[in-house]
């Protein structure tokens, strides 16, 4: 009961921190809302200059504009979790709050598992309505259903990525030290292997295998299969859900180990500041 109360306390604190951060940084708020459209516009412009609009539609079975708006929204939600987890210790160290996080009685792994939740909830709430107009233009009455489906899958995918993100945090920071540049390496790699911009079922085998290690890539694949009407057996659907859930659960104890090792190493080296 006490543990649950502590978790709730931390969630409340993090929610307040995220909410004030978003509302007091107007530019951040505007960027969050406009991001899926800006990115989609950019990709479609580049794509149409090197490829054909109609061949994209033929190959994927969906118009590129709603596809990329949706994919950008998905990416923002899923990568938002990774960003939040990986960036947080670096940011805390920079502003001097990392010391006080370490000094708090909350378990470090639990803390980093909770950290992305408020932003995930807020960004979903803020961004979901921005998807609706484009879906209305392309899908009319089905827009609400499609938006609901995308938002739900984005939430599930992001949620399943939390334990993986904490594992990456612990492992990389243990091996390489706390470095914000890590984000620049991790982001583009994940951008490819999550299968958000390039559906997993179209990937070459090696990439597909790597992609399978990411829990969210399975849920993203499932969403695309539903939206793009890709013939899929019930067994395959269940296997995708099973793999995603199993991986997220397997990564939990591993993330605990890796974060424990990283914090201990930091305490030995005197890197907690």
């Amino acid at each position: 009961m006490r543990v649950l109360k502590n978790l709730l306390n931390v969630f409340r604190a993090e929610f307040m921190l995220t909410l004030t951060d978003i509302t007091r940084r107007k530019l951040l708020l505007i960027t969050m809302i406009a991001y899926p459209y800006v990115l989609a516009m950019f990709i479609v412009l580049i794509g149409s200059s090197v490829g054909s609009y109609s061949s994209f539609k033929l190959r994927l079975g969906m118009d590129p504009i709603p596809f990329f708006v949706m994919a950008s929204y998905l990416m923002m939600t899923v990568l938002g979790v990774i960003d939040e987890v990986l960036w947080r210790p670096v940011h805390d160290s920079m502003i001097g709050t990392f010391t006080y996080v370490i000094l708090s009685p909350i378990n470090r792994v639990t803390f980093y598992l909770i950290v992305p939740l408020p932003r995930l909830a807020l960004s979903t709430l803020l961004n979901a309505p921005t998807l609706l107009p484009i879906m209305l233009i392309y899908y009319g009455t089905l827009a609400l259903l499609i938006t609901g489906l995308v938002v739900s899958f984005a939430l599930i995918s992001a949620f399943l990525m939390i334990s993986f993100s904490v594992l990456v945090l612990g492992t990389f920071y243990y091996l390489l030290g706390q470095n914000w540049r890590l984000l620049n390496i991790v982001r583009p790699l994940l951008l490819i292997v999550t299968g958000i911009y390039y559906p997993r079922y179209l990937m070459p085998l090696t990439l597909k295998l790597i992609s399978t290690l990411l829990p969210s890539s399975s849920t993203v694949e499932l969403l695309y299969r539903i939206l793009l009407n890709v013939p899929t057996t019930t067994q395959y659907v269940l296997s995708l859900i099973g793999v995603a859930t199993a991986l997220a659960l397997i990564y939990l104890p591993l993330s605990s180990l890796s974060v424990g090792a990283w914090v201990r190493k930091s305490l030995i080296r005197g890197e907690v500041s």
């Binding site: 109360k5 604190a13 307040m16 007091r24 709050t97 010391t99 006080y100 000094l103 708090s104 907690v272």
Partner: protein, 337 residues
């Protein structure tokens, strides 16, 4: 008797890389602590004094469970700082680097509420405690309660940092240079609170500072630390007593244009100790005679000066300051050396 803080032979080494070129580097081991031992009682303010790199912050960090020692042992309120780190964290209030440590977009009150939640204080209790601390630190009077942290002055930041250290009302406070760079009112406020918390509430306080004046007025006991070792320990008065030949006779003279160097040379020979010119005006000079027995030299000093035709304006005996002791014991350039 149980002590609030016990440190026994604490050793800490840092391994750093020394760059020798673009690709070459060698590992360098820095001995930050070379086996320091001390104890702090409840209700006592103990100052940790030393030059930069002496090991003050390293000691505080070990006791705060933010650094694992390479040797030795330490406990806070009876809990081992390595094996029972989580228990130690519940009984300490820590203040490190007053310049930062809060979220810029949150107000003073919100920041305290955030850390109260992180420390597991229930919301209603936290709100009450935060209000108390804001009043105690006079943050409300400074208008810092609803101001975002990034707009805080250094004084406000330090007060907020001290308030956070007190959030859980811990029996032990570990304060690393809490008044560094502060305006006099803020520094005075923090010093007064530290003393009050120790005297009235029986809290044990370990306090690092560079400010000797501050150490003299705040600390019940001082540990002088240099190059990872404690070089002296005692009350400020005891430490000053230990310092040999540092009391000084300060004499102000009217010279009437006479040769000052000849006087200083003659005084050195006659008194058998160092004599320094500390102030020199057109017709007036001030000399400082360093001695362990000032009263014994008074007669000789006065007779020599008068025989040479100088007129005495004033004469006083100066006691050593803690700064003199600090410089003397840590091998700095002291006046006596």
């Amino acid at each position: 008797m149980s002590y609030a803080v016990v440190a026994e032979g604490l050793v800490k080494r840092y391994v750093t890389k020394k760059r020798l070129g673009l690709f070459r580097s060698i590992k360098e081991v820095i001995d930050a602590l070379k086996g320091i031992s001390f104890k702090v009682n409840y209700g006592e303010v103990v100052g940790l004094l030393g030059p930069n790199g002496a090991g003050k912050t390293t000691t505080i960090k070990i006791l705060a469970t933010l650094l694992i020692p390479d040797g030795g042992w330490a406990s806070v309120c009876g809990f081992d700082v390595v094996k029972e780190a989580s228990k130690v964290r519940e009984v300490i209030g820590v203040m490190l680097n007053v310049e930062k440590g809060f979220y810029g977009k949150l107000t003073g009150e919100e920041n305290l509420m955030y850390f109260a939640s992180l420390y597991g204080i229930p919301p209603n209790e936290a709100r009450k405690r935060v209000r108390e601390l804001i009043e105690l630190m006079e943050l409300d009077k400074l208008g810092a309660t609803h101001k975002v942290y990034e707009e805080f002055s250094l004084g406000m930041k330090a007060r907020l940092s001290f308030a956070r250290a007190l959030l859980r009302d811990p029996p032990v406070l570990l304060l690393d240079e809490p008044t560094l760079g502060l305006d006099p009112p803020s520094a005075r406020r923090i010093r007064k609170l530290v003393k009050d918390l120790a005297r009235k509430e029986g809290k044990a306080v370990l306090y690092t500072t560079h400010n000797m004046f501050e150490a003299e007025i705040v600390c019940d006991r001082v540990l002088l630390i240099d190059k990872g070792r404690i070089v002296a320990e005692g009350t400020p008065e005891e430490l000053k007593e230990r310092l040999p030949s540092i009391r000084s006779l300060v004499i102000k003279l009217i010279t009437h244009g006479a040769n000052r160097d000849a006087l200083i040379t003659k005084l050195r020979v006659r008194l058998g100790t160092d004599v320094k010119l500390v102030e020199s005006g057109d017709d007036v000079i001030t000399l400082k005679v360093l001695t362990s027995k000032p009263h014994d030299l008074l007669n000789d000093l006065l007779s020599t000066v008068m025989v040479m035709g100088y007129r005495v304006v004033s004469l006083r005996i100066e006691e050593p300051t803690l700064e003199d002791v600090f410089i003397y014991l840590t091998g700095g350039v002291s006046e006596s050396s």
